[in-house]
């Protein structure tokens, strides 16, 4: 594998000096096997130290480097240059305010994560000395995929509903609530449903499914959201038509 000259068109915005964002073109000599993040690092080191973006692990697990690459939400550390021809356009994640260059303000997402109460509320309280809760591989499998979310927010950038209705809790947060709801050790579903089944919750989703398509960890938030809707429907019927079933 050799080197090639790659043209990148990177969105720049500096709140202290720019009234609005603009694109800056960089030509960088890149190795064939590099990812877009490597190209950005090369630009930062050798061409323009003022370019700002987030990154850390370079192995698709820390979730820092989500950005729009040729209009698609991607992790820059898993977007291979070999998959692109021509000029590569790099922009900050869609639907989030820009803090600077490729760095977005993610307060909204962080607040929504906390709102769905993503922690285990044990069904039965067991003392530490009594050892671990038993959970079979089959029970683990029920929620495992929903526990794989790296909080990269690509799903929010892909979600048309979130773009239209910023109050929508959104794919990753609902999938995370569903992860705990599905955990055999947990008894907190009712509390979480207050958020996930509320007006800003799962019912905002029109099942476009883009979130599951862009998810780098195959979490399938769209699937989780539909299951939350079903559970919420069952809850409603039980409450209104068969109240004796409750409790």
């Amino acid at each position: 594998m050799g080197e090639r000259l790659v043209e990148l068109e990177v969105l720049r915005y500096h709140p202290e000096t720019d009234s609005e964002p603009h694109f800056q073109r960089y030509s960088a000599t890149c190795r064939e096997e590099w990812v877009v993040l490597d190209a950005l690092n090369h630009i930062k080191e050798a061409i323009d130290p003022t370019l700002s973006y987030r990154w850390s692990c370079h192995m698709a697990v820390c979730g820092s480097c989500g950005m729009m690459i040729n209009g698609e939400p991607k992790l820059a550390c898993k977007a291979f240059l070999r998959d692109y021809r021509g000029v590569i356009r790099v922009e900050p994640l869609r639907h989030f305010p820009i803090e600077r260059d490729l760095v977005t303000v993610i307060d909204d997402f962080i607040a929504k994560l906390a709102r769905v109460k993503p922690w285990l509320m044990p069904k039965d309280n067991k003392a530490l000395a009594a050892g671990e809760y038993r959970q079979t591989p089959a029970e683990l499998k029920r929620f495992k995929r929903y526990s794989m979310c790296i909080n990269c927010m690509l799903c929010y950038a892909s979600c048309p509903e979130y773009g239209l209705i910023p109050e929508y809790i959104g794919p990753a947060a609902i999938a995370l609530a569903h992860r705990y709801n599905q955990d055999s050790r947990d008894g907190g579903r009712e509390l979480r449903q207050q958020e996930t089944a509320a007006t800003e919750g799962a019912w905002e989703c029109s099942f476009v499914g883009a979130c599951s398509e862009v998810c780098p960890e195959h979490v399938d938030p769209a699937g989780a959201i539909q299951q939350v809707k079903i559970e919420s429907t069952v809850d409603w019927y039980q409450e209104h038509l068969m109240p004796w079933l409750k409790k």
């Binding site: 709140p15 820390c62 305010p97 285990l120």
Partner: protein, 616 residues
């Protein structure tokens, strides 16, 4: 200060992209101060564990969790293989003790190891109770897997994303405690030390570029390792030794810094880690002739393919396996790749099903970054800088010599890891000592909190701000962050790697002293406030250079070979002179002073590390 709002709040621009409102030019304002009881620097595994322990112990405590990244970006997330703790009936605490102490080449403090192994199972069960998705046996109990240097299977795991699940479980658990106030993307610049006690810190809020003062009678550093001193490392970009450097500059010595762990199996293209669990599950290492060469380096005889035997061959300790590769390379037995010499990690005999179930991330990364599918082909790998055994000098209670300052996790050196850490001890360590640091800080506060006065703290913080301003405003400098960083990395790779020599280390020491001098000639390209990564990287470079100098000075002074520190000019272990911890003391622009501290030995006298199949 105006807080930033929801998406959609921003002014629409021509490109249809939102701009954060309120992010306009700011005038210099008086420094905002945060009053807190305990400040924690770093929000990875150790920092979060400490924060939760504090919040649970006393809901009235004010806890400030200060981190240069959002908690889930912390490098704990990249740990793959698992966390060690005795749980199964055929295992014993004594065996975990022996494996750890021998694995550390007897440089571990044995009282600390005792505390660690006793607390380990409880901490891992605690994580289970918080929801960590540990892999399971058919009967629903937690599963364990084999790991290098461990005589029994005791490594708890969540497939090959154990660190990721530990970090997210801790982060999500922490969200239920209102008393944990997070300061995400705040970079700590200095500890405030008044009358011989730690009294708080200063930090830059990345979003605004403004400095904040944190008044805290107790501070816990949980800032992680410093692998980015080296060019080829499994460590993420954030692992620049900032926590270590903070303590070091405040007068706390760095202990055993010469011990750097090379993980034997990184991808040659990127340094991406392939977990030791690859070998725990039965993967084998081959040279260019297809020989399982570890048998030629005291780790034989060869074990049957697909039937790994604990504590021998591919399940030998990391230092020995990485050193064996170095020798193979010298003999011309390495496998050439376009990224340099490698060996082969062969997992084909495990079969697709096992690889998918137990090592899905390994398969994904091998394909993505190397174009090799472990199901059908052996994967080229080579040793890669992975972990710092050394760090901030703490005692068994996670306390540093500076009253009010505690440390835990990779940035700290208790030391349980001695001269070579066993894989899967560090995830457990950050839990055990994260909690321990919290308890110690609580006890310290209960004994009577010492608060420094406004005048003293104000003066200290103003001085910290003046130092930062000097860097920001400096002009006429000719040095660049990237240039100096590159020279540092080359120096470390050349002289502070798997095998070292006195000559090379001396050259490294003088080169690093030169780089530290030249650092004062850096002129930033970026002199603005908002999310200034040019500034951030300049500060991180300072941290790394200071850690690197402590490392090479300590390595030069240790004239013996022990664990991960191998000297070509002193090839034997020398218990007479060096069964001691090194302590590097900061001396400003001068080179550090290195002195020594006795190792705590309770019941295991230094012996021979035997990883041959004959050690039964």
């Amino acid at each position: 200060m105006q807080r930033l709002g929801l998406p959609g709040d921003g002014q629409a621009s021509l490109t249809g992209i939102n701009i954060a409102p309120g992010a306009t030019v700011r005038m210099e304002v008086a420094m905002e101060t945060v009053q807190t009881d305990v400040a924690i620097i770093g929000a990875g595994g150790a920092g979060l564990r400490a924060a939760i322990a504090l919040a649970q112990a006393d809901p009235k405590l004010r806890i400030a969790l200060v981190s240069k990244v959002y908690p889930m970006r912390s490098h704990t997330c990249a740990a793959e293989g698992g966390a060690a703790g005795v749980i199964k009936a055929d295992d014993s605490l004594e065996q975990h003790f022996e494996d750890t102490v021998g694995g550390g080449d007897w440089l571990s403090d044995q009282d600390a190891v005792d505390y660690f192994i006793r607390e380990a199972p409880r901490e891992l069960v605690q994580l289970e109770h918080w929801g960590c998705p540990w892999s399971r046996e058919a009967n629903g109990s937690v599963a364990v897997r084999p790991f290098g240097g461990m005589k029994k299977q005791r490594t708890w795991f969540a497939a090959d994303k154990s660190g990721f699940h530990i970090l997210h479980t801790l982060f999500q658990t922490s969200l239920q405690f209102a008393s944990i106030q997070r300061f995400d993307e705040y970079y700590a610049t200095e500890l405030l030390v008044h009358e011989g006690r730690c009294a708080g810190l200063t930090a830059i809020e990345m979003r605004s570029g403004q400095m904040r003062r944190f008044d805290a009678p107790a501070v816990i550093i949980a800032g992680g390792g410093a692998g980015r001193m080296f060019p080829f490392t499994t460590n993420g970009a954030i692992k620049t030794g900032d926590g270590m450097a903070l303590a070091y500059r405040a007068g706390v010595p760095l202990k055993d810094m010469e011990f750097v762990q090379y993980h034997p199996t990184g991808l040659p293209s990127t340094g991406t880690l392939l977990t030791e669990a690859c070998r725990g599950e039965g993967g084998v290492l081959l040279n260019r002739n297809g020989r399982r060469f570890l048998q030629d380096y005291g780790m034989g005889p060869e074990t049957p393919l697909g039937q790994p035997v604990l504590k021998t061959m591919e399940l030998g300790p990391r230092d020995r396996v990485s050193q064996a590769f170095w020798h193979e390379q010298k003999k011309g037995n390495a496998v050439p790749t376009q990224w340099g010499d490698a060996m082969l990690l062969d997992m084909r005999h495990l079969g697709e099903k096992t690889i998918n179930e137990r090592l899905p991330l390994v398969r994904d990364m091998s394909i993505s970054y190397m174009g090799v599918d472990p199901v059908t082909d052996p994967v080229p790998v080579r040793p890669v800088v992975h972990y710092m055994m050394g760090g901030i000098h703490t005692d068994i209670k996670a306390a540093t010599p500076l009253p009010g300052l505690y440390a835990a996790g990779e940035c700290a050196c208790v030391s349980i890891n001695g001269a070579n850490r066993l894989g899967s001890n560090s995830l457990t360590e950050l839990l055990v000592f994260g909690r321990r640091a919290a308890l110690s800080a609580m006890q310290y506060l209960e004994a009577g909190a010492h608060t420094a006065g406004e005048a003293a703290l104000g003066a200290l913080a103003a001085a910290a701000q003046a130092r930062l301003r000097e860097l920001m405003q400096r002009s006429g400098g000719t040095e660049t962050v990237a240039g100096l960083r590159r020279e540092m990395m080359q120096t470390m790779e050349l002289h502070a790697g798997i095998y070292r020599s006195g000559e090379g280390l001396a050259a490294a020491c003088s080169k690093l002293a030169e780089l530290r001098r030249r650092c004062r000639g850096i002129e930033l390209h970026d002199k603005t406030n908002v999310y200034n990564t040019d500034l951030l990287q300049a500060l991180e470079l300072d941290s790394m250079l200071e850690c690197a100098e402590a490392l090479t000075r300590s390595a030069l002074a240790r004239k013996e070979s022990r664990g991960a520190h191998q000297r070509l000019d002193f090839v034997e272990r020398d218990d007479q002179r060096f069964l001691r911890h090194s302590l590097a003391h900061y001396r400003g622009s001068d080179a550090p002073r290195v002195d020594y501290l006795d190792v705590v030995i309770t019941r295991s006298q230094p012996g021979v590390r035997d990883y041959s199949g004959a050690h039964e």
